[in-house]
Each structure stands twice: as structure tokens, then as C-alpha cells.
Amino acid sequence: MKRFLEALGGFVLTLLETSGRFFILTGQTIRGFLKPPYEIGLWAKQFVRVGIDSVPVVLTTALFTGGVLALQTYKGFERFHAEGYVGSVVALSMLRELAPVLTGLMVAGRAGSAMAAELGSMRVTEQIDALVSLATDPVKYLFVPRVVAATLVLPMLVILADAVGMMGGYLVAVNLLGANPVQYEINSFQYLAMEDFTSGFIKAGVFGALIALIGCQQGFDTRGGAEGVGRATTSAVVMGSLAVLVADFFLTKVLF
């Protein structure tokens, strides 16, 4: 019991300390972003990297999630003869919730961790000190391109995930469960409103910013050699994923 409380206290302290650093570095990132020069070349490089890093895993996730969603709802809806609505359920859940959140989680695992590992190893090999010694603001040079890239890439990945997820649902419903293809398609779009799409799109942008900021901060504040880099990478994934889930709740509640 005592140990549990100690661990809990330690966790709370770390959380407070980390969130303090998080806000300071977020402030510096915003300042670095606003202040010219705008290093578009660096942004573009990260944009490609975050995107390419994440596309395969995001598409696979979306395809199978759409598929399993169709399977499950079909089984359930069959009981009260509402199979016709499977398309609507798949489309709505993908667009509003599952595409942005699952994409966020996957990018936290893929790109957030890569950012922490890269900045962490730069920290322990004194490359970040070298940047500063060459009169370069490390937050502007390292954070800003990654945060900008992730904020822009995530909504685009979500569009892909929306489309692929709905396709997964269609394939399963039509090919495995024998739904009428024309009707399924009509049904998919019938009840969709523009805000279903935009809400997921905007959420994704916020998730991207959070994941990149957390990944960069964890890497930037790495202490203690290769072991420290490992710790930073792990906590970038854990904290990035938690941030996505918590932010998702509040965004859904407050905004949409």
C-alpha cells in the first residue's frame, strides 16, 4: 500500500514537472513558429517523413477497423432487421471518431516515438549543444518543423483513413455478408453531414500538434545516455496516446 502511494506520488510529481516543461516548450515552439525566417524546406522534409512513416500503418488500421465494424454491426443489427443501416454506422463512426483517434494512436506510436528517439540521441551525443553553439535556436530548428508537419499531415491521413475505412466496411458487407452493393453505398452517405467530416479533420490537427510536441519534448529533455533515449521513446508513445484519448473526449464534448 505504501509502495503504491509512493509510486502514485512519484507519478504525480513527474506529471507536474513534465507538464510544466511541456507548456514552456510549447510556448517557445509557437514563438519560433511565428518569428521569421519561415524554414519551409525543413517543414516539407518533416511533412514527407511523418507522412511516409505513418501511411502504411494508418491504412491497414483503417481497412480492418472498417471491416470489423461492418461485421459487428451486421451481426447486431440483423437481430432487429436493421442490416440496411450498417453502411451509415460504419461511415459515421469512422468519420467522427475512429479514423481520427486510431490515426492519432498510430502516429503517436510511429512518428511521435521516432521524434523522441531522434532528438534524444541528439541530446546525449551533444548535437543539441552543438546546434546552440552554432547560434541556432534548437526549438525553432527541431520542434517547429515537426509540429507544423504533424499538424498538417494528420488531417490528411484522416481523409485517407476515412475513405479506406468505409471501403473496408463495404468490402466486408458486400463480399462476406452479401449486402446489396448499391443500397450499401447509398446508405453510407445518406445520413452524413459535413460536420461529421470536419470534426474528425479538426481533431486530427490537434492530435498531430500534441503528438509532435510530446515526442519532441521527451527527446529534448532526455537524460542519461542510451537508456535515457529508450525511456524517452517509451514515454513519448504512452503520453502521446493518452493525450490523444483525453483530448478526443474534450474536443468531442466541447466543440462538436
Binding site: E126, D129, L134, A135
Partner: protein, 260 residues
């Protein structure tokens, strides 16, 4: 003009620094004149790197002042401090090369960021710097292909690309074989001849120290306990200095000094 030339390049006034409970620098005073070459000796873990990082503003003292050309570094805004850092060229213990870039890109980095040089001018300057460190034509090499000695030399080349007035060397020869050590020592002498900078070098190697120093200082318990020209330093009758001179730094495991 006369005032300008008598202002010391570097002054530390009662600089203290602690990490947690560990006091690393304890009201340390130090002055380095323009064009002078100071070598700082000290056991591993005494805070030599910490001292060097205070000179260029990589670390902020808990108390005390760091004056560069008479200007208090920490009374400036971060942006102004950044500009002052262009006066410096720093070579890190393991080179600290950017491993996402080639050798040439590493050296071009400060030129691209802080000058308006054209592509050709940058390439010419990179080639010139690589010549100076005796690595001509190494531009397209990856940093992972380099040996320890080569990494240090590329680090030198990057540090001098903007022709800084102050050079800082953190253990430039630690962990290198005697021949490579000799090459690096000669390089440091050549860079001094060519650029005539103020230089602060940290080393364990007494031979290196006595070759390149105008003054040798010993760091111990957070302070400079001895600060003399090389000849007098060697002859001094102080138990700590004697221990250091006779105690043979070559017996120390060179790898140990690379751990932080």
C-alpha cells in the same frame, strides 16, 4: 581602440553552478586575454565540460557573471545571446557531428544559416576548412564512416567555418592513439597561427597542454587552484599539481573520461 584591445575576451566572476546537491563550480574566477591560449586540466568529473559550457552560454550560472568582451551574457536577451555565440567555435568531446548530414553539410550548416554566401562560396569555404584539418575532399562522406580522430577534425572544421574569435576545445585528444593525438595537436597549433583566436582547451594530456598553452590552469573542487605559464606550472611545488603532473594521466582509462 586601446580600450577594445585591453578588454579581456573572457571573464568569469564568482561563477557557481550546482546540479541537484552536487556543487560543480564554486565561485570560480577566471580571465582569458584576447589571443591567449588557456589550457584547463582536471580529473574526470570535476566540471571541465561544465566550465566550458558556461563560456558559450550553453549553461547558465546559478550565480556570478560571464563576461564576453566585457558584455554580461546573461543580461542579454536569448536572441542577443545567440548572436554573441557566433564569436565562438566549439569542438565537442566526441565531435557532436549532426549524423543526419554528410561531412560537407555539417560544415556548411553555420555558413548557410548565418551568412548570405552563394552555394559556390559555401562549397569553397567548406573545402578550405576541410583542407585546414587535413581532410580534403571528404565532403560527401557520411559521419558514421568516420574514425574518432576524423570526427574531431570535422568538428574543428565546423567550429572554424565562421572564423570565430574564440575557440573552445573539449578534450580534443581524449581516447585517441598517440599518433592521432600528435596530428590533432599540430592542427590546433596551425589553427592558432592561421586565425589567432582566443582559445580555451580542456585536456588530460600534459604533453598536449604544454605544447599549445600560454597558460595552464588546474580545476579542482569547483575552483581554479593553479593558473601559471606552462614552464612554471611544470615546476610548481604544490602537492595537487605534482600529483597531476607525475600521477600520469596516461594511466587513466581514456574511455572513462568520455562518460558524463
Amino acid at each position: 581602440m586601446t580600450e577594445e584591445s585591453t578588454t579581456p575576451a573572457i571573464v568569469l566572476e564568482k561563477v557557481s553552478k550546482r546540479f541537484g546537491r552536487k556543487v560543480v563550480l564554486d565561485e570560480l574566477d577566471l580571465t582569458v586575454a584576447k589571443g591567449e591560449s588557456l589550457v584547463v586540466l582536471g580529473k574526470s568529473g570535476t566540471g571541465k565540460s561544465v566550465l566550458l559550457k558556461h563560456l558559450i552560454g550553453l549553461l547558465e550560472p546559478d550565480s556570478g557573471k560571464v563576461l564576453i568582451d566585457g558584455e554580461d551574457l546573461w543580461s542579454l536577451s536569448e536572441e542577443e545571446r545567440g548572436k554573441r555565440r557566433r564569436k565562438f567555435g566549439m569542438s565537442f568531446q566526441e565531435g557532436a557531428l549532426f549524423d543526419s548530414m554528410t561531412v560537407g553539410e555539417n560544415i556548411a550548416f553555420p555558413l548557410q544559416r548565418h551568412t548570405k554566401m552563394s552555394k559556390d562560396e559555401v562549397a569553397a569555404r567548406v573545402a578550405e576548412c576541410l583542407d585546414l584539418v587535413k581532410l580534403p575532399g571528404a565532403e560527401s562522406k557520411k559521419t558514421s564512416e568516420l574514425s574518432g580522430g576524423m570526427r574531431r577534425r570535422v568538428g574543428f572544421a565546423r567550429a572554424i567555418a565562421l572564423t570565430p574569435q574564440i575557440l573552445l576545445f573539449d578534450e580534443p585528444t581524449t581516447g585517441l592513439d598517440p599518433i592521432t593525438t600528435d596530428v590533432i595537436t599540430k592542427l590546433i597549433l596551425a589553427m592558432r597561427d592561421k586565425l589567432n583566436p582566443t582559445a580555451v582547451t580542456i585536456t588530460h594530456d600534459l604533453k598536449v597542454a604544454f605544447t599549445i598553452a600560454d597558460r595552464v590552469a588546474l580545476l579542482r573542487d569547483g575552483r581554479i587552484v593553479m593558473d601559471l605559464p606552462p614552464k612554471e606550472f611544470e615546476a610548481v611545488d604544490d602537492p595537487h599539481v605534482k600529483a597531476f603532473v607525475a600521477g600520469d594521466s596516461s594511466f587513466e582509462d581514456p574511455e572513462e573520461t568520455t562518460l558524463r
